[in-house]
């Protein structure tokens, strides 16, 4: 059962504590939420590749262990690549945190009922996959704790925020994948000095 927790204020409040964290957003609403909270080069927006936000965040976390990496995604996206939780647990990156915005629906495609509206519990699956630090948030007064959970402790860790099914105003970031990737990569590595990628 979902109460009135709304995605945009939740994401904005959590990201207020991000520091220099790198953020990878899943396609659709998590990407719009990330952009709406404030555009930064350290944001990786995705418009496709459903199921790949978490593997992408994992590869990034392994490559830059000194930076906190946050993956923000939705229930439908993470369910498509649910096995990735086992991959994350086995790699055990201490700098990786995952925030699942769970509205129990395929919000982008007509608000069809999702699997987590039934008996499926993503935090429990994460724990079973071997991610021992999990948290489920259902109310606005837990959001400060959520930010601490995501940014202030050793990973890997996963939080599920049970959010209301809402229709937010469009907040569409850059769409060109090469532009998004280049800006993000240069934010981490600086401008390229050679032709070697």
């Amino acid at each position: 059962m979902i109460d009135s927790l709304e995605r945009r204020p939740l994401v904005a409040e959590v990201l207020g504590e991000r520091g220099d964290a790198l953020v990878v957003a899943g396609l659709g609403s998590p990407t719009w939420d990330l952009f709406a909270a404030g555009d930064r080069p350290e944001n990786l927006y995705t418009w496709g590749g459903m199921g790949l936000a978490l593997p992408t965040a994992l590869g990034l976390a392994l490559a830059v262990p000194e930076r906190r990496v946050l993956c923000i995604t939705g229930d439908g996206e993470i369910m498509m690549g649910i096995g990735s939780l086992a991959v994350v647990a086995n790699q055990a990156p201490e700098n990786l945190a995952i925030l699942v915005l769970d509205n129990e629906s395929f919000g982008e495609t007509g608000q069809q009922r999702g699997l987590t509206a039934g008996p499926t519990d993503i935090a429990a699956i994460a724990a079973g996959a071997g991610i021992s630090a999990t948290m489920t948030v259902r109310a606005g007064n837990q959001v400060a704790d959520l930010a601490q959970f995501l940014f202030a402790a050793v990973g890997p860790r996963l939080a599920v925020a049970k959010i209301a099914l809402t229709e937010e105003p469009w907040a569409l970031p850059e769409k060109d994948g090469a532009t998004i990737a280049r800006r993000f990569r240069e934010a981490i590595m600086g401008a390229p000095r050679t032709t070697d990628r």
Binding site: G48, L52, T56, G81, A181, I188
Partner: protein, 180 residues
């Protein structure tokens, strides 16, 4: 059935590993294949190389892109059957102009014993090409290393998805005890 014996696998695995090290490819994402056993064991034994075992191959596309965004070079190693799982995922490196280097051990072609491998074996190259991956077939064990090097350089210098398809003729067909 061509049987090349273990020495051929040792040689080409050494060649590929050497080319990986020369390019600082330090992460290997994989759903394993029997034909890649020696190479994957070499990667596991090397402290400077991280092996990321996947549940399904498209995860490896994400892992490789993420690693590249963070400045690390990586490789996705899999069987040809896994290529079919990756097709939508491979739209991501195409859109991002991100390198994605793949090493594919072919099944379902030269001397295949298992008919279930044949449809995807035949579809591997056309499916990869349909999503924009540059493919390099190699059947001769002594050319696998140089082919891998060429595909790696195209990927990392040009920002392309590339795949080395190691023919079953080079790996040796699995016989399931029939002829082993």
């Amino acid at each position: 059935m061509t049987k090349l014996g273990p020495s051929a696998e040792i040689d080409w695995s050494n060649d590929v590993f050497r080319e990986m090290k020369a390019r600082e490819i330090s992460l290997v994402a994989t759903v394993p294949d029997g034909g890649l056993t020696r190479l994957l064991n070499m990667c596991e034994d090397d402290h400077a190389t991280r092996v990321v075992t996947l549940t399904t191959e498209p995860e490896g596309v994400g892992v490789c892109i993420g690693a590249w965004l963070g400045g690390k070079k990586s490789l996705l190693a899999m069987q040809s059957s896994g290529v079919g799982n990756c097709i939508n995922a491979l739209g991501m490196p195409a859109t991002m102009r991100a390198p994605c280097l793949m090493l594919v051990a072919m099944r379902g072609q030269w001397g295949e014993f298992n008919p279930w491998q044949v449809p995807m074996g035949g579809a591997t190259r056309p499916a990869l090409e349909a999503i924009g991956v540059r493919c390099f077939d190699v059947d001769a064990p002594n050319r696998i290393g140089e082919t891998f090097a060429a595909a790696a350089d195209l990927a990392f210098h040009g920002g392309f998805a590339t795949a080395v398809l190691i023919g079953q003729r080079a790996i040796g067909a699995k016989g399931f005890g029939r002829d082993d």
